[in-house]
């Protein structure tokens, strides 16, 4: 009998949306999920109910298209978070910090739709016990939520939207001398205890310091799911066979949004509710500084939302004391030309090669 321990998830970056990664030794990298989710797959079917065949019920059903997606949560390993950011925040640059040999600074921003609305895609593999070993190509990111709470490891929820195609009973190997899915090593965890939060209203910066408790920063993409099914491309589950059902030929994004939620200990004259009432323009910087990579260069995550407006700020009880929980959204900043910026300093040379 297989238990939840016998599950595995992996991925490999595709060169473009259409080209699936082939199963081969070391072709995929395993990622560690804290959940036990599996792919949600559903054929899009139609039937002949109501046709003038004289029957009160449908007489047959056929498949027109396929749909598949999956959600996962990964722990906040610096070397793994960058992969989620790359899939979802398509504007990516790499810099070398001064004095660095192995450390690189990776900057992620929302993908410029003027260049392209098609994000990077991965081929995703999954196994659960002895009877489930599947592959899902053309999987694009539909957003992520980065979280930190109390003493815990940072976590990142993310979703992968497939084209609908699922390969069943694959030859993907997960163990052995040369498996198809290779485990990552040397991962460095970032903790909520390493987080610093500074928010300014343009006049008075508030460094939350000891008042900081938890955060959630959510970047979401609304995908053009229906438009991705392109009948003229004639791409089907079985190549050349329209009766096998259509799969997506593209999966572009429409809207890009940022929302956040913070919990901080209450203090006298807390400014958060005033900021809500007066709709002040806020500038948010959240950093998580981890252990040293080399010299004085640490693993470091910095999330910047240069223009934010609060939506709510409410007293709540957490750990038996009063806290403020405040939330809001990010807006595009003309001055810095960005909605959101995530900077990740870690010992990965290039996240596009790290999958």
């Amino acid at each position: 009998m297989d238990t939840s321990m016998d599950r595995g998830y992996g991925w490999a970056l595709q060169v473009d949306y259409a080209t699936e990664k082939a199963i081969a030794n070391g072709a995929f990298k395993r990622f560690f999920a804290t959940d036990d989710n599996t792919v949600d797959y559903e054929p899009q079917v139609a039937n002949d109910e109501g046709w003038s065949h004289g029957n009160n019920q449908a007489t047959e059903q056929w498949v027109e298209a396929h749909e598949a997606r999956v959600d996962h949560t990964i722990p906040g390993h610096a070397q793994e978070l960058g992969k989620v950011f790359l899939l979802n925040l398509g504007n990516y640059t790499i810099n070398t910090p001064g004095g660095a040999v192995t450390a690189k600074e990776h900057i992620f921003k929302p993908q410029d739709p003027a260049v392209s609305r098609q994000g990077k895609a991965v081929t995703y593999v999954e196994k659960a016990g002895a009877g489930h070993n599947i592959i899902m190509p053309r999987a694009v990111g539909n957003g992520f939520t980065l979280k930190g709470d109390e003493a815990g490891v940072l976590t990142c929820d993310f979703g992968l939207q497939g084209a609908g195609k699922i390969g069943i009973n694959q030859a993907t190997t997960w163990t052995g001398g040369t498996p198809s899915v290779v485990k990552p090593t040397g991962l460095h965890k970032l903790f909520n205890t390493q987080v610093g939060l500074v928010i300014t209203d343009g006049v008075t910066p508030v460094t939350y310091g000891c008042r900081y408790r938890s955060f959630e920063i959510s970047y979401q993409l609304s995908l053009l799911l229906a438009a991705g099914y392109k009948p003229g491309c004639q791409e089907f589950l079985v190549s050349g066979d329209p009766t096998s059902g259509m799969i997506r030929s593209a999966c572009e994004f429409d809207k890009q949004t940022v929302d956040f939620n913070f919990t901080v200990d209450m203090a006298a004259n807390s400014p958060e509710l005033t900021a809500v009432q007066q709709q002040k323009k806020m500038d948010i910087t959240l950093t998580a500084t981890g252990g040293i990579i080399e010299g004085s260069l640490p693993h470091k995550l910095t999330v910047k939302i240069p223009v934010a407006y609060y939506r709510t700020s409410k007293p709540t009880i957490k750990n038996d004391i009063w806290t403020f929980q405040f939330s809001g959204s990010g807006f595009f900043d003309y001055t810095t030309s960005k909605l959101l910026e995530v900077a990740l300093q870690t010992n990965v040379a290039d996240f596009a090669l790290a999958f």
Binding site: D16, N91, T93, I94, I107, V115
Partner: protein
């Protein structure tokens, strides 16, 4: 469409990607990208300049793909000819004197136009444009 870009001495990044378009920015090098919008992104955000793109247009080699005016890739003086709204089919029949009369076309460029043959890939570094045209 091949668009050649000059990378400045301090481009501000080692590598840039937008979706499936990517380019390594080695200082003081020339890279080639195949997507106009990605090229514009590099120009606007990282200070790259388009090779041969000068305001006078006198020595521009008009690199780029075909467009509504029908000019083939690499056609010399293309920018000035497009600005004058002269289609490719018309240019083929112009004399040297008529070409020089077009604003932005000098004698050297006019001679290049008359001698033009479609160019081959010249082996310069090509950025990875897996995104393709969209």
């Amino acid at each position: 469409m091949k668009i050649k870009l000059n990378v400045p001495s301090k481009p501000g990044a080692d590598k840039v990607s937008v979706g499936n378009f990517e380019a390594e920015l080695k200082p003081n090098s020339i890279i080639t990208v195949e997507n106009r919008r990605f090229a514009d992104h590099l120009i606007e955000n990282f200070g790259l300049t388009e090779t041969g793109k000068k305001s006078s247009g006198d020595d521009g080699d008009g690199d780029g793909g075909e467009n509504q005016f029908g000019y083939p890739a690499g056609f010399p003086g293309r920018d000035a000819l497009e600005a004058a709204k002269i289609p490719f089919e018309t240019v083929k029949g112009l004399t040297l004197e008529q070409l020089v009369a077009v604003k932005g076309i000098g004698e050297k460029t006019a001679e290049s136009i008359l001698a033009f043959e479609p160019e081959e890939t010249d082996g310069e570094e090509t950025a990875d444009d897996n995104g393709g045209e969209e």
